[in-house]
């Protein structure tokens, strides 16, 4: 009996080893698959072609939690009459959707005409020759688009997507406890005054921390890459902001728990009523209004750095046309529709997302549904894109890992700045 067990042990070992190999290595197989042979010269979208488009258009992207993508496709189909649009969900989360999109683009799939792209993907996708050049289309629509949102579609002086809806950080504050924040210094000082005044933000080691850090860095006048694309993060501004943030955790301005928070835990903690300030995205407004805090909180644009001006970081989603789209004119017609001032009002009213059309923010119907539209517009207009680079994911990792190390107290600001600069330089060299 035991003799047999010893034998089967070895057999099982082989099985386990095979499973280990398959699990560990199948992942690596995916990345190297059918990739395009060098970046091709991508064709350009013709803005006039949308007028005589027909057939169907398939838009692919992340799971449609708010219903905005399917809603837009339906409204377009109804309004256009000649072209049918369909939205296909290809990933439950942003990360999953990106993997799915990259696989389709590498494999030259013709399944999707339009990809819904996160603003930080533009450079990488454009540099691979995966997208149709939308410069002419964007130029034609430019007067109805907020300039900062158009910037998120730019790579090497061309536009590779059209903005669909945007996103900028806001500060929610308890009106009865704390003052409306004007500067970061004032916010932190006020937050430290009483135990219930504290500030919560997204301080977990992930992309959100990069955003929270950059919002402060930009307002302090610092930057990651300069105008020429050179690494500029090793600066007095970076040190200043890192010290400021880590002091804030030490003196109780910010709760230490933020080291584990991404968007939702930050919101839930704030909803307990034990904090004065919260940095989060606009969608939180609707959720906060459904809690006992309704009526007692205010919404403010991100504060400025003392003596400077406010400057946030843009989020949001763009519409990019695949280089292998089978219905390019249909895609152009859809993008035209999605960015019209009329539809952009619905983006705000029906789905609580930030429009890319400025006029929408002062529309009476929009203001009724989104009373903080003025503050939101101020945040959107003042916001800058995140560092523009095809190796953005690596740059962001260099930022959030080192910022986290300072906040959690395992690295000094000085060491972290040096390491960040070094890692960003290495990342850039890998392109």
């Amino acid at each position: 009996m035991i003799e047999l067990r010893a034998g089967s042990l070895r057999t099982r070992l082989v099985t386990v080893a095979a499973a280990a190999i398959a699990a560990g290595l199948l992942i690596s197989g995916c990345g190297g698959g059918a990739a395009p042979q060098g970046a091709e010269q991508a064709a350009a979208a013709d803005p006039a072609s949308g007028a005589n488009a027909s057939g169907s258009v398939n838009i692919c992207g992340v799971k449609d939690a708010s219903g905005i993508y399917k809603g837009t496709a339906e409204a377009f189909t109804k309004a256009n009459g000649k072209v049918t649009a369909k939205y296909t969900e290809i990933g439950a989360t942003t990360d999953e959707a990106r993997t799915q999109i990259v696989q389709r683009l590498e494999g030259k799939s013709t399944e999707c005409d339009i990809f819904l792209t996160d603003v930080i993907w533009t450079s990488e996708f454009a540099s691979q020759g995966w997208l149709l050049d939308q410069t002419k289309l964007v130029e034609a629509n430019k007067d109805r688009l907020i300039p900062s949102t158009v910037e998120t579609t730019k790579y090497q002086d061309k536009y590779w997507a059209s903005p669909f809806f945007t996103n900028a950080g806001l500060v929610y504050y308890q009106k009865d406890k704390v003052a409306k924040p004007e500067t970061w210094q004032q916010l932190y000082a006020e937050a430290a005054k009483a135990p219930g005044n504290g500030y919560v933000y997204q301080g977990k080691q992930y992309e959100g921390l990069t955003v929270n850090f950059l919002e402060m860095l930009y307002s302090a006048g610092g930057e990651v890459l300069d105008d020429k694309g050179e690494v500029a993060i090793d600066s007095p501004e970076t040190r200043k902001v890192l010290d400021f943030m880590s002091n804030g955790l030490k003196n109780g301005s910010a709760d230490r728990a933020v080291l584990t928070y991404n968007e939702d835990p930050a919101r839930l903690a704030y909803e307990s009523g034990n904090f004065g300030y919260q940095r989060n995205w606009p969608h939180v407004y609707r959720l906060l209004n459904a809690t006992s805090l309704a009526g007692s909180f205010g919404v403010a644009p991100l504060p400025a750095w003392e003596g400077g001006k406010a400057s946030g970081v843009l989020g949001g989603w763009n519409l990019a046309i695949s280089a292998h789209a089978t219905n390019q004119s249909g895609a152009v017609a859809f993008i035209d529709f999605a960015t019209t001032p009329e539809w952009q009002k619905h983006v705000a009213m029906d789905y609580s997302q930030a429009p890319v059309n400025e006029a929408a923010y002062s529309d009476a119907a929009v203001l009724q549904k989104m009373p903080f539209a003025t503050e939101l517009l101020a945040s959107v207009k003042g916001a800058k894109p995140r560092p523009i680079s095809p190796v953005y994911p690596q740059i962001s990792q260099a930022i959030y890992k080192n910022v986290y190390a300072v906040l959690s107290g395992t690295a000094s600001a000085e060491d972290a700045v040096k390491k960040m600069a070094e890692e960003i330089t290495t990342a850039k060299a890998s392109f």
Binding site: E3, L9, V16, I21, D95, E124, S127, T260, P265, A269
Partner: protein, 310 residues
């Protein structure tokens, strides 16, 4: 039960040769399948790891030899992940074996409702790791998590600790989550080992005047060794490949980044196929070396025990 004529190295006669040819023919299809599912992906991954792919060249590769391995092995990140993974494996596997043995002894007792209890203790193992990881994350959330709230309510220390935001504590939560989930699995294997020990052995020991404790130390434990070793091998190999727990709970912060997470980041997020493949191969080699050591040393024990039994 073992068929002696199939053991290699024994005297070979005509009948043996025919049987061996038959054996080869019968195992050939599964060998081919094994080669396809195991050898081909490994070979491909090794090839990928010897090349450099950059985002700029969009999939075109350049042969760089062992460069990816050299840069991985000279990076502090790899060694940090290596150390953290071994720390995790060491802590979680030893706890799982100790608790698993205790649990198996308990389940081996004859009592009413034993079958039901056996099913119930397996429940944690049936839950998808990512789901249980999210549950643990919620429980250890500062300010509103169950664990932190209960600790504060009882006035115990730890109520104000940001468990997943501190070095040391974060690893403790990850180990705890793993122990909770996979101890039943270890218990199951050990229980199977317990059940092949015949009751006559114990009866004989009792006649010789051995106490319960003596019987446990001198009979149960030695006879249980093969089962414990098997559980240890399974659990160690799994633990060295750990990905989902630290990924969900900390994203690798606070000294919890595992080797697999590092490979994932390079492959998936950064699309550095060469570097990422080199990291997967290194992870795979680490697991291989550890399991070979196990089989060489602990596996020898299995054979000895088997001989003693005969």
């Amino acid at each position: 039960m073992a068929n002696k004529t199939l053991v290699p190295g024994r005297g070979v006669n005509g009948r043996d040769r025919a049987e061996r040819r038959l054996a080869v023919r019968m195992t050939a299809p599964s060998l081919v399948i094994m080669a396809l599912v195991a050898a081909v992906p490994i070979g491909y991954a090794i090839w990928l790891s010897l090349n450099q792919y950059s985002v700029r060249t969009a999939g075109l590769s350049r042969f760089v030899g062992l460069e990816n391995y050299i840069s991985a092995l000279s990076s502090s990140e790899w060694w940090a992940a290596f150390g953290q993974t071994f720390l995790f494996a060491g802590l979680s596997v030893s706890l799982e074996l100790a608790l698993g043995t205790a649990m198996a002894l308990l389940l081996n007792l004859a009592f009413k409702g034993r079958a039901l209890l056996r099913t119930v203790v397996l429940l944690p193992y049936a839950i998808i790791t990512v789901v249980s990881a999210i549950t643990w994350q919620t429980m250890f959330q500062p300010n509103m998590g169950l664990v932190t709230n209960v600790l504060s309510a009882l006035g115990l220390p730890g109520g104000d600790v940001v468990w997943l935001g501190e070095h040391g504590y974060a690893m403790a939560v990850i180990v705890l989550a793993d122990v909770w989930k996979t101890t039943p699995f270890a218990a199951l294997i050990i229980l199977a080992g317990l059940q092949v020990i015949s009751s006559e052995t114990y009866e004989a020991a009792e006649l010789d005047g051995a106490s319960k404790w003596q019987a446990f130390v001198h009979i149960t434990l030695p006879l249980l060794r093969p089962a414990i070793v098997l559980a240890a091998i399974f659990r160690t190999m799994d633990a060295l490949r750990v990905f989902d727990l630290p990924f969900v709970l900390t994203r690798g912060a606070n000294g919890t980044e595992s080797m697999s997470m590092l490979a994932y980041t390079q492959l998936r997020e950064n699309r550095l196929v060469g570097e990422g493949s080199a990291l997967s191969i290194l992870t795979f080699l680490t697991v291989m070396v550890v399991s070979v050591i196990y089989v060489r040393f602990a596996g020898g024990n299995i054979r000895e025990v088997a001989k003693e039994e005969q």
